[in-house]
């Protein structure tokens, strides 16, 4: 088996269809703030009050499920791709193996929740951007991109979904999201601890890793998916992120990046509607 497994080769059964992030970004259509949708919604936050709440929650849950599959695969590759002791500490690999188990459980939970919500495996397209962030040849960049940026996003997503479940009175959704949230906080902490430890005497490597994290944060803020604005479906979960080791400065930076992405998306949509024949 090769070291460093390319994202294009991720193995899936016949039900799944994958798309790259570039393909996703090429889709200029909006999901909010337009004509009839604007009339029906006062906010884009994913709450049961949204007219499309059920389908939006189902779609997000499917996204969570495939994201968990890729997180599982990414953590597994980090166990394998690097020589123990020389390229990655033994204890770091133990943490990654632990993450494999956690992510495998999260897939199991997400599959069960998807069934509960009436979604079939592979019903929605799978964006492979998460695994792409786990393909770096430097384990520190993987920790920054996956454990801090993506698992950080997972904290935001699970917090939103947990609140969705509580508001809707869905007993399973709130219960399961809370458990997964606890694990994600642990994964982000792992990333923060290892990033600091490994780059303790290598400021250049640390800067590179933090820059990579920022790029991934921006990619995942694409479309204004997550921010502190009501226009974003997912709310930036400051409290849980603090528990996971994000500093105030880091949180403000993520909030700024997210808001910038939301504004970019808003402008792009306005351009689409302006050029649309209807």
């Amino acid at each position: 088996m090769r070291k460093f497994f390319p994202v294009e080769d991720l193995a899936r059964d016949e039900r799944f269809n994958q798309a790259t992030n570039a393909e996703r970004m090429a889709d200029t259509r909006g999901t909010s703030n337009t004509g009839v949708i604007r009339k029906a919604r006062s906010t884009n936050r994913l709450t049961p009050a949204r007219p499309d709440a059920t389908d939006a929650a189902r779609s997000l849950m499917h996204g969570i499920m495939v994201g968990e599959i890729q997180a599982l695969e990414g953590a597994g590759r980090t166990c394998f791709d690097f020589v123990t002791g020389e390229e990655a500490p033994f204890e770091l690999k133990l943490d990654m193996a632990r993450q494999c188990w956690d992510e495998a459980r999260h897939v199991e939970i997400s599959v069960k929740l998807s069934e509960w919500m009436g979604t079939e495996l592979g019903q929605f397209v799978e964006n492979t951007v998460l695994f792409a962030a786990a393909c770096s040849q430097d384990p520190v960049l993987r920790l920054a991109g996956v454990n801090r940026a993506l698992e950080g996003l997972a904290i935001d997503v699970f917090t939103t979904m947990k609140e969705f479940g509580e508001l809707a009175g869905d007993p399973y959704l709130a219960f399961c999201e809370d458990w997964m949230l606890a694990d994600e906080v642990t994964h982000v902490k792992m990333g923060s601890v290892w990033l600091r430890k490994i780059t303790e005497n290598d400021p250049e490597r640390r800067a590179k890793a933090l820059e990579f994290q920022s790029v991934v944060d921006k990619i995942f803020s694409y479309g204004g998916l997550r921010s502190e604005s009501d226009e974003s479906p997912i709310l930036l979960a400051r409290r849980f992120r603090e528990l996971a080791g994000f500093s105030d400065g880091e949180l403000s930076e993520i909030a700024d990046v997210s808001l910038a992405a939301l504004n970019e998306r808003r402008e792009a949509l306005e351009k689409t509607f302006a050029t649309s024949p209807a």
């Binding site: 497994f5 080769d9 059964d13 695969e73 597994g76 166990c79 632990r98």
Partner: protein, 213 residues
């Protein structure tokens, strides 16, 4: 109530543990180092394979089992300094080159169509050999002086039996034609031959000798 000051035997009548054991401290450390190396190789390859298998149930089991073997490696890593090996890395090694060749052959399959080979290597060859090596160790070490190793082995064996059953059931669910059965048995034989050459997970004498002296 019985008199609390009445003399009692330190070994209760039901406690039949004995002092003698086959392994001294040095030999125990040597074996534990090999166990750690083998468990590490196993958790690494299980992790690496997750992205390569299309079957979602297999993918999830590999993820779960990956952690268990990492935990076993951690138990052995922590045991080594207690066995007077202050540099655990020194003893974290394969017993011989044949064992390295075995792990290389085990790790070789990558294509998504090779799930049978991947599972057979782990669940019909490697894990059964872990079970036999650990069982031999547990049954031959001093039940009193080497209590910590015995305790770890008991935890680990529970995992190995559970995972072996999971893996065997997955294999049986994937073997649906005579050609697939043949593929599985040929791969098993190839790996088994390499492991025989290595003498087992801890090298020659891993499970002692059944020959009449």
């Amino acid at each position: 109530m019985a008199d609390p000051f009445k003399a009692r035997n330190p070994f209760a009548p039901w406690d039949r543990r004995e002092l003698p054991g086959m392994f001294d401290v040095e030999e125990t450390a040597r074996r534990v180092g090999h166990y750690k190396w083998a468990e590490m190789k196993l958790f690494e390859v299980l992790g690496g394979w997750i992205a390569t298998v299309p079957e979602i149930d297999v993918k999830l089991r590999l993820g779960t089992h990956c952690y268990k073997h990492a935990w076993h490696a951690e138990l052995w890593h922590n045991r080594l300094p207690e066995l007077r090996e202050m540099n655990p890395e020194r003893l974290t090694c394969p017993p011989n080159d044949a064992m390295v060749r075995f792990v290389a052959a085990l790790t070789e399959p990558e294509a998504p169509e090779m799930t049978i080979e991947k599972l057979v290597g782990v669940y019909r060859v490697f894990i059964p050999h872990f079970i036999s090596a650990y069982t031999f160790h547990l049954n031959n070490t001093s039940q009193i002086t080497d209590g910590p190793t015995s305790r770890s082995i008991k935890f680990i064996l529970q995992d190995e039996f559970d995972d072996w059953r999971d893996g065997e059931m997955l294999i049986q669910s994937l073997l649906t034609t005579p050609a697939e059965v043949k593929r599985a048995s040929e791969h098993q034989a190839r790996l088994e031959i390499l492991l025989i050459e290595a003498g087992g997970i801890a090298g020659p004498g891993t499970i002692g000798s059944a020959d009449v002296e």
